[in-house]
Symmetry: C3
Subunit: 418 residues, 3 copies
Amino acid sequence: MAPQYAPSLRSRLAPILLLIQIAFIVIYAFYFEIDNHIKERDGTAFTTFYSEFQDVNTMVMLGFGFLSTFLVRYGYSSSGFNLLVAVMAVQWALILNGVESWYYRGKIKINLKSLVYAEMCTVPALISIGTVLGKTNPVHLILIALIEVSGFVLNEWLVHIIVKTRPLNSIMQLHIYGTFFGLMLTWFLYRKGSEQPFEKEKLSRNSGLFSMLGTLFLWMFWPSFNSILEDNYSLERRLGAVSSTYLSLAVSVATAASVSIVTSPKGKLNLVHIQSSILAGGVAVGVAMPVVHKPWEAMTLGFVAALLSTIGNKYLKSHMALVFQCHDTCSILSTHGLPGLLGWLAQFLLLKDFDDHTTAIRFAVFHITSLFITLSLSLSTGIITGILLKWKFWRPPQDRKCFDDQAFWEFPHLAVQK
Amino acid sequence: MAPQYAPSLRSRLAPILLLIQIAFIVIYAFYFEIDNHIKERDGTAFTTFYSEFQDVNTMVMLGFGFLSTFLVRYGYSSSGFNLLVAVMAVQWALILNGVESWYYRGKIKINLKSLVYAEMCTVPALISIGTVLGKTNPVHLILIALIEVSGFVLNEWLVHIIVKTRPLNSIMQLHIYGTFFGLMLTWFLYRKGSEQPFEKEKLSRNSGLFSMLGTLFLWMFWPSFNSILEDNYSLERRLGAVSSTYLSLAVSVATAASVSIVTSPKGKLNLVHIQSSILAGGVAVGVAMPVVHKPWEAMTLGFVAALLSTIGNKYLKSHMALVFQCHDTCSILSTHGLPGLLGWLAQFLLLKDFDDHTTAIRFAVFHITSLFITLSLSLSTGIITGILLKWKFWRPPQDRKCFDDQAFWEFPHLAVQK
Amino acid sequence: MAPQYAPSLRSRLAPILLLIQIAFIVIYAFYFEIDNHIKERDGTAFTTFYSEFQDVNTMVMLGFGFLSTFLVRYGYSSSGFNLLVAVMAVQWALILNGVESWYYRGKIKINLKSLVYAEMCTVPALISIGTVLGKTNPVHLILIALIEVSGFVLNEWLVHIIVKTRPLNSIMQLHIYGTFFGLMLTWFLYRKGSEQPFEKEKLSRNSGLFSMLGTLFLWMFWPSFNSILEDNYSLERRLGAVSSTYLSLAVSVATAASVSIVTSPKGKLNLVHIQSSILAGGVAVGVAMPVVHKPWEAMTLGFVAALLSTIGNKYLKSHMALVFQCHDTCSILSTHGLPGLLGWLAQFLLLKDFDDHTTAIRFAVFHITSLFITLSLSLSTGIITGILLKWKFWRPPQDRKCFDDQAFWEFPHLAVQK
């Protein structure tokens, strides 16, 4: 007979976490130092940078966590594990991003830019986790995060070496990387019977509002997310990124609402679909940023992205579960995958100022290669991680305990009757 | 017999939204461009501006929406429709505010300043919506927003032409404009029987806390709201606006709490009254900004504004419903109207440095004219909108479905028993 | 027989609040003015400062309030009284901090720096209130705040006079001051029978999430809290403070999670313990800031602080209640006290660059004296306040009404059945 209680994580989570954390501290002790040579113009950078850094920090630590609190019995886990995974992934990303600096200079410097870069490298992990949310335990999530951050940093390095893209452009591949990594994961971790929604995979009035709150923080601060890595000294490009993202997100809201109501037989809005889809414009513009120069381009991207995303949310999720055995809790494919691919495609359509035919073909080859590298790497690392996580040693929660905080959290004083 | 379900908005909301949105994209394609000539000193402006822009953005997109989540069954609509209305109104305001630039230069430039200006022009619409919250559908709300933004921009233009006020001063009329527009609306849309509170017009513990959260974001970031349009290169004036607003808001909290407890027979605080009234100081100081130079002036304004607002919340709301058939869901008259008028009055009392008697009279005439224009325009556009919205074509929700998310939102997986 | 209803605060809270508030306005009218001579380099300071000021503002007004909304029936009071106490304490702290300026120049200037300084002086009061939360009424809380802010400003002045510490260093004593003041308070206000948790001293799913939200805002913005008072013109030191605090907080999250799971027999996480303990790293690094120069130092501090804090949360709280009759609602001793003392200790262990033995001893004596002053002053003012609050005149809530919003808030339209 199956055990009545969720398997204890005491002998798994605690030693793994402690071990990794202590290893991190040791590595930092030998190789890291705080950047203490700020040049005058970097002084201005601190000033400019800090409020945007906090916007991105809020998105990563609060936004992504609360976005997924819509699951009625999984709010503690959604928000808590997001924080736990993010801090582990950030520490790991700081190390990986510093390898080159360590190789040449023996030391890795920490400053606001490296912190924000590390936070962005953790975002693919937070995205992927959305696909397996509620069906995994925190040990799984930490393993996913560490492997995925490694793969993503490797991906950036490969793209940089082979295609010579600037890091600023390649980092926005994070949406595509995170999505396909996550889809492989959830495909490998598929549980029989999840064609039907899980018993506890539903929302309540309050959990919907918490989720709304997280979504709004993502939505409001997305302009910072897309602009922060634009070259510091070119304020024009940052302003362009902010304005484009803002307009694109605005159009996404209107589009998501109208498509949601059109596709509903009773003419009602669906909160969860809308929450995912209003972010689609930010994703698409982020990926296509180098070629978006006019307001209407950003707005059209926002329109098409939200259209794809809302339709994807409505029809694709159940289809994926039935046909491909891919149960995607937070509809990551529709929220980040489709808009990300759209942004990639938009770079073809919107790029026009080529000197000659050869440059155009050269760009096309490089652009396709870059996507190809990202897809192969995300799919392959996703498969490897999926295989690793199948191992029963990690004590996955039973089906009955999926989407339930009580598997992981004490409820000693929980009010029985509210 | 009345239909059992709320009337479907499928054939109303979707086409209207899509049509307007596509029209916006077309207009933007022809006339808009992103500002890409930032001068050196504007560079500093980007730096200074961006964090305040995000504060205002948080107020508009999250603050006003969550402020009205106190309605226990209307949280999705309060926060979601606020976002929807805000993005439509911002896009429309960008167009209207750019008409002059388009006329002279053929193009409208988008930068942080025009974005923030557009957000401020949408605030009157968000305020007015508070009066009819729960008794309208999103089609109504979008119509209100578009008409009201047009009226408000027209009002600013008229005040500027006739009274020669600087736009920075006239924009704070938004509180007065929004209130009286909203009162006219709710008077026209009055439903029989709403002398008694509606069945679902109540709050729960959790909805009260969500509302507290939205209020706090408004309260904390109000100094940014009042200071952001002060001249960029005069940091002294911005600092003055920040300090005055901060002190005024602080005094409002203490005053609202003590008045709320004095007027309660059992000596208890009323959460909803306090939430509205702690913001009164920010409204009053915002309107009276040009003449507030000393801390005590700001504090006294905060004190009187909160006093008026709390008493208004306690006695005026039910009175208005009974006598004037004005059912004002969010007590907009007490929250924005009375403090706004107080701020207007304060400009008389606090202005002292006149050269001679003639200037004083000249100022008085201009000041009264300015209020007169705002009031006439807000009342008349409010009446026109009210008449338009009476049209059954827009499918207003039935009385039974007022203040209920289920009229507009799908609850497919809603947990029956939480 | 005991009265059935909570004692009315109408005749206590209202006159006290109004009187103090009017007194403040009068004082401000005579002695305060808004700083209107901003030098060029202060201009940059406004720019840099404002976004960090808003971060600290968010922590003080929203973060501390929502941190303690985990109490299921005490959310209105936790968040509302926090705001009320904070605004009274800030106004009082502005006066006390300005006494010197008033003495020499006759006027006290208000600018962003003095506002932020005043907000930091109110933090000890907000910390102490955590120990007596739910067992006091707002009159108590305001008295606590006014006395404690006075004591803390006196403490800073004494430390400055006797030990010649820079204010920037001594202000971080606020964690130690707040804790021991609070412990004395709760010891004096001990209620018989509170060895067992109170009937309503428990959390629900939603109250846990509100609390998570408040905690996250504290956690995310703590780098601003620790860096904002570092010398403005030394951006290197501010960057150092930001990076150290960030790393320390990150390590605290991982440590708190693993210790919480190790000490739980069923291998489950405890939300309230984790929420308190993830902040421990920020406290410890804040206190030890002058000597933390390397990333590993910050991380090790974060590790040990979270270890102490989680173990303290697990075992110390009930022990304190049983043995010392100290019922510490928010586990302030473990959240702020132990990490604060650890930070103090770390200054001994990490300081190494002494010229000679004499300087080292000199530092040691001064450092111990400084702690000694803080402890004596916090304990003695705590005892005095405790004795004052025992007075029945303030109408403390009955045991049955502890941890219950209904003692202080109207619930007229409260949905009976949600």
